[in-house]
Symmetry: C2
Subunit: 230 residues, 2 copies
């Protein structure tokens, strides 16, 4: 069985959990408190970040994008139709482009700052320098999310799913990062009905259930967070 070192509010961990659930792979979850900088964890991932995926006999797989590539590669040939990373070159480029958009750009501009300032600093007292939440950073992230939400809506108006005509890693990464912001009540869903409809579809999938059912100590989810009809 696979093991995933994760944190419930870490958007990258959420992405890998969604991918594992879509592939129907069982996984043992271990909550990692990265701020404690546990030596055994740093030995697995010197970058000190979640998630880290462990598979028997293999080096630890660190990070969302690397886990995504790994899960695609071990899927084997018979599940071709269910692939979250399609087979043709242009589709692969588009899925990877959007996966990076959300895992890297959205994380840097929105989900990373929100989770760091509003959860880690406030509830764990673990700012890099022990500092208090920075309201300017939170304000900037709440401004940035509006552009990303509009982009999701634009993509969802053009296509069945974000990267094309089938569910892919693009949808899972977008939904994972948005869901972390949504837990904190920071997604202005009413600004884009198409984006909201797309998210309702992803959120209703069985792969999302265990994530929506979880709460983290110290901060309650927003009222509509787990509501499939939000």
């Amino acid at each position: 069985m696979l093991t995933l070192f994760h944190h419930p509010l870490c958007p990258h961990s959420r992405f890998v959990r969604l991918a594992l659930a879509e592939y129907k792979r069982e996984v043992r979850l271990i909550e990692e408190r990265t701020w404690e900088r546990r030596q055994d964890f740093l030995a697995m991932n010197p970058a000190g970040t979640t998630p880290v995926l462990l598979d028997k006999g293999l080096l630890p797989v660190p990070g969302a994008a690397i886990a995504a590539e790994y899960l695609d590669e071990i899927r084997g040939a018979k599940q071709d139709d269910a692939g979250l990373l399609p087979r043709d070159p242009s589709s692969r480029v588009e899925v990877r482009r959007l996966m990076s958009w959300f895992n890297d750009k959205f994380f840097a501009e929105v989900s990373g700052p929100l989770v760091t300032e509003r959860f880690f600093k406030r509830h764990k007292g673990v700012g890099a320098d022990g500092s208090a939440p920075d309201t300017e950073v939170i304000r900037a992230a709440r401004h940035n999310i509006r552009h990303h939400l509009a982009y999701v809506g634009w993509l969802a108006r053009k296509r069945d799913w974000l990267a094309g005509n089938q569910l892919s890693y693009a949808d899972l990464s977008a939904a994972a990062h948005l869901s972390a912001a949504d837990y904190l009540g920071d997604v202005p869903w009413n600004e884009d009905e198409t984006a909201k409809d797309w998210y309702a579809r992803v959120k209703s999938r069985p792969s999302f259930r265990s994530i929506l059912a979880e709460t983290v100590a110290g901060i309650r989810p927003s009222p509509t967070y787990a509501d499939l009809d939000f």
Copy 2:
């Protein structure tokens, strides 16, 4: 023929150029001034960043990591031994881990800030807010690079190349990002002899030649930048 939209001091562009040269793929280079936010370029890559690789009949391939995956996938089976991304799962994880270490972490902590503050802001006047170079940011990057250089040395003491016993994307990404900092004279090579020896080996490869021969307007390379015996 392939086309690459790049910038000479962009470390991600340097990485893709090195990969193309190692694979002996001819490429037409087009210098992109991302700060001008050219509409045709944004249509190719909405993130507005270099590099973007164009291959006939395919969607534009944006970003270093996505280009690396693409180039690996189109290599075909007969060149297995020359692969920059080895075939076995653990080696793939390690190459991708280190590629992300340099393309993401080193870029965020060192090469991105240095190139932005010391070149783009100073010589192009293109800070996000039109601001002057931030000496605190430069100081932090120069501090951070020492830890990364020590990590490169540690890896190079354990292995022939950074990710294992053959040259891989890990070496090219590390060398690409270090070379951008080296252009600016910001690599304290004397702090780690093994890291320096490893870089001398990568820098001496034919794939590095065209990069070392280039200078950018407004700022001269450091005295030992193009020196193979630095």
